[in-house]
């Protein structure tokens, strides 16, 4: 749902400058040009319009897979139902918490770790590859590794450590369910931040650092006055890209907690899934999907306003 809506933006905005720039040219070439691009525009439009209009249609009718044939028009009832549902507020706050916490962890740790491995040391190449590798592991596999090998209260590595120190092992998924999800997702996305920040650090000007050292800057001053401003742009990129993907985290929740206990780890993506395929209410799920699209677009709008400005600014 979300991806189709996100596609809508670029398609419509790309069409506008096209119109303007064609004005000066002869009518014939412009007609040929339009003819040549029309197949791809058409495919894109169908790709976007058909699922979107179907979703809108489903959201306005009663459509439960358990009651086939009972599909009368209900207006905005599905929307009202979805928004007033207890799971909606929980899903909203969990989504925000998840995105915010993972962003914080990946950016802070990402900066620190990339600074650390930017120093020359023996085995640097191997360490870098190891640090990047979690990113290549599939989300489901990642979640299963954490669930069965690391966080498992009986056979997990964490439990073994706790027992070694004589403590009672923690049942992570029942005691700190959302925090566990945050850990898993952070582990998956930290390499992405490290990758971007590490490459950015390599372009940090050496002479500027030397000039600052002559000016009397210690390690802290160097970090806050030179390194961090230099990393502002890559950090913005990390925040933007991660936000887009973290809003729709699903596999990690599905494989570990299944949204529970209660609604404690249910985010919007999981809530929609549970409406459609656990409660078989396609109409309600469609309404939820449309709401999620609107929310994602609001988030995207603010992100682009905030970060896009610093990205397009010449450096």
């Amino acid at each position: 749902m979300k991806t189709t809506a996100l596609n809508a933006g670029p398609v419509s905005s790309a069409a506008e400058p096209e119109k303007d720039s064609r004005k000066g040219e002869s009518k014939k070439t412009s007609r040929i040009n339009r003819f040549m691009v029309s197949p791809s525009v058409l495919v894109l439009a169908l790709w976007m319009v058909i699922p979107l209009s179907m979703t809108i249609y489903f959201s306005l009718i009663r459509y439960n897979l358990l009651y086939p044939g009972d599909n009368e028009f209900v207006g905005l009832e599905n929307f009202q139902f979805f928004v007033t549902d207890f799971g909606f507020m929980a899903g909203m706050s969990n989504t925000l918490l998840l995105v915010g916490a993972v962003l914080l962890i990946t950016v802070v740790l990402g900066v620190l770790i990339s600074l650390l491995i930017n120093q020359a040391f023996w085995g640097q190449g191997i360490v870098r590859i190891l640090l990047i590798s979690p990113f290549f592991i599939m989300p489901t596999v990642n979640a299963l590794i954490w669930k069965n090998l690391l966080l498992h209260p009986v056979s997990g590595v964490f439990a073994a450590i706790w027992k070694f120190f004589g403590a009672t092992p923690i049942d992570w998924f029942s005691e700190f369910p959302l925090f566990s999800i945050i850990m898993i997702v952070s582990w998956q996305w930290l390499p992405f931040a490290i990758l971007l920040l590490m490459t950015a650090l390599q372009s940090l000007d050496q002479e500027q650092q030397e000039a600052a050292r002559l000016d009397g800057a210690g390690p802290w001053a160097l970090f806050f006055h030179l390194t961090l401003p230099h990393l502002a742009r890559p950090i913005a990129v990390v925040v933007m890209i991660e936000t887009i993907f973290l809003l729709s985290i699903f596999a990690e929740i599905f494989t570990t907690t299944g949204g529970g206990p209660g609604y404690e780890t249910t985010n919007l993506a999981y809530l929609i899934y549970s409406q459609a395929l656990l409660q078989f209410d396609v109409g309600l799920a469609s309404a939820g999907g449309l709401i999620a699209v609107v929310l994602a677009n609001i988030a995207a709008f603010f992100l682009v306003r905030l970060i896009g400005k610093s990205l397009t600014e010449k450096q």
């Binding site: 002479e207 500027q208 030397e210 000039a211 002559l214 800057a217 030179l226 401003p229 450096q315």
Partner: protein, 367 residues
């Protein structure tokens, strides 16, 4: 006061020795230029003085205080970098005040010092701009301003003009010379450009392969180079070198037979020269005249002539296949392949022995 003394300074990167024992004395208010070809160690020497490189052995002393192992910021030096190294996200004002703010200087003092530096460098209208909004020359000035506000004992410049275009370079060169007078500061300047070395320096230090070849005023080095390297390095176009053998020795002069067969008699203190020893005669372009072929024993063909308006540089191939550069007036006319004779101003020629060391002239020795 700022007297810098360097004693037997050595620096190696792994097995490669970059500085092979540098001894140097820099006096207060001197403008010292380190000059030499790429890789001669001049930048390493400057960075060692700045504290950006750890030295392998030796001592650096500023006013009799050992600074060899001191942190860069504690040495009371300021450096202007080749790339200017301005802090990109700070305004010009912030760039200049950064060092003072780190030193926790009083706000009013900072603002006075910054505006004073901005006034000297004519940066006042640009104080709120970011480095990226400045031209190359303006950035250069900010980099200098950043050094000035700290009121260091010694200014260090690492090829500061090499990123500027030719016209701006001449202008900044003049401004630097003026700044040296106005600030009455001790400056150390690294360049590979001999014009900058000749025009700016009170004292030129010629470096080659990690060693000091010669130290002296620009004119001293130009007129009386200690060896072939210095002779060939300073002067534009380069000094021409003619190999030959000593055929006759007299108390105050030496006769040399050149490869082409021509003989020249030069005034020289001939103590350690022997008959038959191989020598090189060095002659600057301005110390050769073009004459009729019949008037001279040294003859050759005109190769290319470069006319610069004020002067014409003629490249001549002698019959012994030596190449010579001759400076003639701007209105000098000649054609490619013309047969010509050459007359050397023997009093101004330099004689180098087999090791490339200059053979002293008797008159200079007396003086």
């Amino acid at each position: 006061m700022a007297n810098l003394t360097i004693k037997n300074l050595k620096k190696s990167f792994g097995d490669i020795e970059i500085l092979k024992g540098i001894d140097l004395e820099i006096k207060d208010n001197e403008f010292v230029v380190f000059v030499g070809p790429s890789g001669c160690g001049k930048s390493t020497l400057l960075r060692s003085i700045a504290g950006l490189e750890d030295v392998t052995s030796g001592h650096i002393m500023l006013d009799h205080k050992e600074i060899t192992d001191l942190a860069p910021a504690k040495r009371d030096l300021a450096m202007v970098f080749q790339s200017y190294a301005l802090y990109p996200h700070m305004s010009v004002r912030k760039n200049m005040s950064f060092a003072l703010e780190l030193a926790k200087e009083n706000k009013e003092v900072i603002s006075t010092k910054v505006s004073e530096a901005a006034r000297i460098l004519e940066l006042e209208p640009l104080l709120e701009r970011k480095p990226k909004e400045l031209s190359g020359g303006q950035r250069q000035r900010v980099a200098i301003g950043r050094a000035i506000v700290r009121q260091p004992k010694v200014f260090l410049f690492d090829e500061p003009l090499s990123n500027l275009d030719a016209a701006l370079r001449v202008q900044m060169r003049l401004e630097l010379a003026r700044l040296h007078h106005d600030l009455n500061a001790t400056m150390i300047y690294v360049t590979h450009d001999q014009v900058e070395a000749m025009t700016l320096a009170d004292k030129v230090v010629v470096l080659n392969q990690g060693r000091i070849e010669q130290v002296g005023t620009p004119l001293e080095l130009y007129r009386n180079p200690a060896n072939r390297f210095v002779a060939g390095f300073l002067g534009m176009p380069k000094m021409s070198f003619l190999p030959g053998n000593v055929t006759a020795i007299d108390a105050s002069s030496v006769t040399v037979e050149l490869t082409s067969g021509a003989s020249v008699t030069l005034p020289a203190a001939s103590e350690h020269l022997r008959k038959g020893s191989a020598v090189t005669v060095g002659v600057r372009p301005e110390n050769i005249d073009v004459v009729e072929p019949s008037e001279s024993s040294l003859t050759g063909y005109m190769d290319i002539a470069e006319s610069l308006g004020s002067d014409t540089y003629c490249y001549v191939k002698t019959d012994g296949q030596e190449t010579l550069t001759v400076r003639m007036p701007g209105n000098f006319a000649c054609n490619y392949g013309d047969r010509i004779g050459l007359r050397l101003h023997v009093d101004e020629c330099h004689l180098f022995d087999e090791q490339g060391n200059a053979v002293q002239k008797p008159s200079r020795m007396a003086a």
